[in-house]
């Protein structure tokens, strides 16, 4: 029932850095269980004192923050391999909410594990910083996008990001990938209205660059999208897996 770390289906994927047997054992020791949640379920909520850390085993979700006036911003989309709850574990409380967008399986780690890492395993604590720094780097990119890119550029950028991420996770079959997100989610991630996001997607569909339909995203011309979104098509660097 519960996946053993030495049989972790993620470790083989090209996105993730190699782990030594010792690191796998350490990780296993700190894994306290597995959690399955249905689409739509909040996993952690803003302001909550989370006692747990999760790693996404399968499925997708998102992090978002809501403003006092009810407007919502989606910070990042979550894919297998992503670590959830580091902020809460370190800072005491979560700065955002985490929600499932498909059925998700999550590895559960005890928050305590974190402190053990610092004492026992310099390489693992380095990995944690690596993850935090990378996350920050991504947020920087998102900030530039929302701040400086036009709607068309933003959507293209986001599609390329999503596609590249899915591709390195081998979630793409043929030219399509599962897209359980709503268009509203994408709109809220880019600071655009739902209507405008939809119309922009429609333009890409007409131009045969990308077709998002029936919960699947099909990308026909990644290069052109990347050019429009002013980004590149290089695969992301290998990242450590917790």
């Amino acid at each position: 029932m519960v996946t053993r770390c030495d049989a972790c289906p993620l470790r083989g994927r090209s996105l993730f850095a190699d782990m030594s047997d010792e690191e796998v054992r350490q990780t296993q020791r700190f894994k306290v269980g597995e959690l399955t949640v249905e689409a739509g379920t909040p996993i952690l909520t803003e302001g909550a004192h989370s006692a747990q850390l999760f790693t996404v085993l399968s499925g997708v979700g998102l992090r978002h923050k809501v403003l006092q006036n009810g407007r919502r911003h989606v910070l990042t989309f979550l894919f297998p391999g992503d670590l959830i709850g580091l902020q809460g574990a370190v800072m005491g409380e979560m700065g955002h909410t985490v929600e499932a967008r498909s059925r998700m399986r999550l590895c559960v780690f005890d928050r305590q594990a974190l402190w053990n890492f610092f004492g026992n395993s310099p390489s693992r604590s380095y990995d944690l910083i690596w993850i935090a720094a990378t996350e920050e780097h991504f947020m920087g990119e998102a900030l530039v996008t929302v701040g400086q890119r036009t709607a068309e550029e933003s959507v293209a950028w986001a599609l390329v990001k999503l596609w590249k991420r899915a591709a390195t996770l081998e979630m793409t079959d043929g030219a399509a990938m599962p897209m359980p997100f709503k268009q509203q989610d994408l709109a809220d991630a880019l600071g655009l209205s739902l209507v405008h996001t939809n119309k922009t997607l429609a333009k890409f569909r007409e131009r045969q660059l990308a077709v998002w339909r029936d919960g699947r995203l099909q990308v026909n011309d990644l290069e052109t999208l990347a050019r429009i979104g002013m980004t590149d098509t290089a695969p992301p660097k290998p990242r450590p897996l917790l």
Copy 2:
């Protein structure tokens, strides 16, 4: 000439967490020097392979990224106590450029120090994660701002943030603080045009909420600004100092 860590002028400020004598000695051991740069000088540039880490001792600066089409986004403003270059040290290259906006004094640490921390000092490596997580948290707030707040709300939010930061650093005398940034910097941080930013500031000036003039920012009604910007006036939590 060079400030000794045990005489660090920052450590007493309310913004920073207490350090043990041992931590001060450790920090001193890793400090390799001090650097003074003039306003306008780039300290680290995007893509560069930085071999060094800095902590701001005095002065202010900013981090920014530029897009292929030349548009620029300011990610954060830098104040005394901020750590610069962690991303570069961890990920190999900087994801943004760091630039001085006033004369700045910087403590210089060797990148190598980082690895030593992981091995020798769990509490210091925890501090590093804390810093990275906090930075990420801030970026999240900025993302919500740029994505969801109106121009007026954004500017109010930014002024409150700047003011609170300066206040805990005791950089405010009376009702004013030094503001060596350009309005263009603020505009680029909020994803607004210079003209619109200027007009929004003018409105706040007319309403006597805040007056930014001659390189100084005077805040008359922090509460109202916070209400407009949908944020709070609580001082930031104490943070570790490297």
